[in-house]
């Protein structure tokens, strides 16, 4: 029997009602993330990407359509994804290691075991020296790394990353992208990633979904054929450059003034 995809979305529609008015955020959207795949969703601002992620994470319910994780359309989705929002959202009163273990605390893993796992993860990804630090003392890039490790420790099989590097400067961003690829490969995670940045999407993804302006529909699906492991230099290859041109043109048409 064939393995079911990690995430299968079909005909997903979401309508918000505010009194008399109703706003359609997502219109009949189809999307698939196979096991171990890195899939990126790219689209103009305000195109309902965050709503899509909230639905997949089980925080909101769709108006219509199928959302199935591990081929299971009826099961509750909350608790089955590692969701990372745009802000790092670290708890300022918990030192780094206790932030990383937060998901395990929610799952009621005994404190000692949770802490041991958090420490081991921090060590493996080069953050051991900050384990005891409070988040307020870390740089923006560091906070995002800690938040990513917290997400991975809660659930490394399926990561839902909503523009995690949007607020970082270009250099920090590049080093986090490489770091994320390393993380993804060592955990064999399936990833669904949101970004505004075409180059970021090309560097990271196996497949890119281009969404329209609100209500969100799929405009294009592109496979990125660059070899793995990816290096930032590959963005200069002719293949990557022409893909970047193509996607940017497509997005510009959708972006409202």
């Amino acid at each position: 029997m064939e393995e079911p995809p990690k995430l299968f979305v079909q005909g997903l529609t979401k309508v918000f009602r505010h009194g008399q008015q109703s706003v359609e955020a997502i219109a009949s959207l189809d999307l698939t993330v196979n096991m171990g795949e890195f899939v990126t969703v790219i689209g103009p601002s305000g195109s309902g990407k965050s709503t899509l992620f909230n639905i997949i994470a089980g925080i909101e319910q769709p108006t219509a359509g199928v959302v199935a994780i591990d081929g299971n359309p009826d099961a509750e989705r909350a608790g089955k994804v590692g969701y990372m929002l745009q802000q790092p959202l670290l708890l300022p009163w918990r030192p780094v290691e206790e932030n990383v273990m937060l998901g395990l605390v929610v799952r009621r893993v005994p404190h000692r075991h949770a802490l041991a796992q958090a420490r081991e993860l921090l060590k493996r990804f080069g953050l051991a020296e900050f384990a005891q630090h409070y988040p307020a003392t870390l740089s923006g890039g560091m906070r995002q790394r800690v938040a990513l490790l917290r997400t991975v420790l809660f659930n490394h099989s399926f990561l839902l990353l909503d523009e995690p590097f949007g607020a970082l400067d270009a250099l920090t961003r590049l080093s986090l992208q490489v770091w994320l690829l390393d993380l993804w490969q060592s955990f064999h995670s399936s990833v669904l990633f949101v970004t505004h940045d075409v180059r970021e999407a090309i560097l990271l993804s196996d497949r890119i979904y281009v969404l329209s302006a609100r209500p969100a529909r799929v405009l294009r699906v592109v496979d990125v054929e660059l070899p793995r492991p990816r290096r930032p230099e590959q963005l200069a290859l002719e293949q990557a450059v022409s893909l970047e041109q193509e996607l940017t043109t497509l997005l510009l048409k959708e972006q409202k003034l």
Binding site: G79, Y83, Q86, L89, P95, V106, Y134, A136, T137
Partner: protein, 258 residues
């Protein structure tokens, strides 16, 4: 070390102003511009305080006992009420109006009643302190609880956290700075509350002492008792601030857990 010195230097202007006012007061009385029986000089007050310390200290201990028990009760009550306001909209709608109305009842009218119901012992004074002090704690803490970042709540929901886990792991720790602001205000009020409870009736305490020295017109001792009251209030304020610094190192700029 330099930090402590700089902090002390911050109190400089207040210190200079206080000394100037006291000096003015002293000179005014010494110059015979007012009868020292009615307004004794600061030096006379300090002297009277030391000479009568044996009696004053016994009354101070009584008042301090009432204050501390009352403040602890107010803290528990304030926290419980804040959590009730914080966990459900339904409870908030039910409890909040009653909480506000409770603050419109004059304690002046209530205190004699409490005395009538509960006798002349410790209980009515403790209750007056608690009624006086729970409100700022409850309101500040409830504000802190509702101030949690909605994105953080979303993150917790995606982890399938229960409402109690969100309260315990995110909202309550996040509300601690607000809680301590409320507690500091309450601590400052609390001594006055205890003295007020004693004024209505009792055997011992600074309130009773103030009344008896006033009735025998030893005004200098009334002032001595006021000084003790002020010092007690300041000490409690300082104690709460100290506890906060120890309990919330992350809020006071600590780099790492020690």
């Amino acid at each position: 070390m330099t930090l402590t010195l700089r902090r002390l230097a911050g109190f400089g202007p207040a210190f200079v102003l206080a000394v100037a006012l006291l000096a003015f007061w002293e000179i005014y009385v010494e110059a015979g511009l007012i009868n020292p029986i009615y307004l004794p000089a600061p030096t006379a007050i300090v002297q009277a305080l030391f000479n009568n310390w044996d009696v004053i200290s016994v009354n101070t201990m009584q008042t301090l006992l009432e204050t501390v028990i009352g403040l602890v009760a107010a803290t528990v009550l304030g926290l419980v009420l804040a959590i009730m306001l914080g966990i459900s909209l339904w409870l908030r709608r039910a409890v909040y109006p009653l909480l506000i109305i409770s603050q419109t009842i004059p304690i002046i009218a209530l205190a004699p009643l409490l005395l009538l119901w509960m006798g002349y012992d410790l209980e009515p004074k403790v209750l007056v302190v608690a009624l006086y002090c729970f409100f700022p704690i409850a309101v500040a803490c409830a504000d802190g609880l509702s101030g949690a970042d909605p994105e953080l709540i979303k993150l917790m929901q995606s982890m399938k956290a229960t409402r109690w886990q969100i309260l315990w792991l995110v909202r309550l720790p996040g509300a601690m700075p607000s809680f301590f602001s409320g507690l500091r205000i309450a601590a400052t009020y609390s001594v006055t509350g205890a003295i007020f409870g004693e004024y209505v009736g009792g055997m011992q305490g600074l309130g009773i002492y103030m009344q008896s020295v006033f009735n025998s017109r030893v005004i200098v001792l009334l002032f001595a008792a006021i000084v003790v009251t002020a010092v007690l209030s300041l000490l409690l304020f300082g104690l709460v601030s100290l506890i906060e610094r120890i309990a919330l190192p992350w809020y006071h700029g600590a780099v790492a857990r020690t």
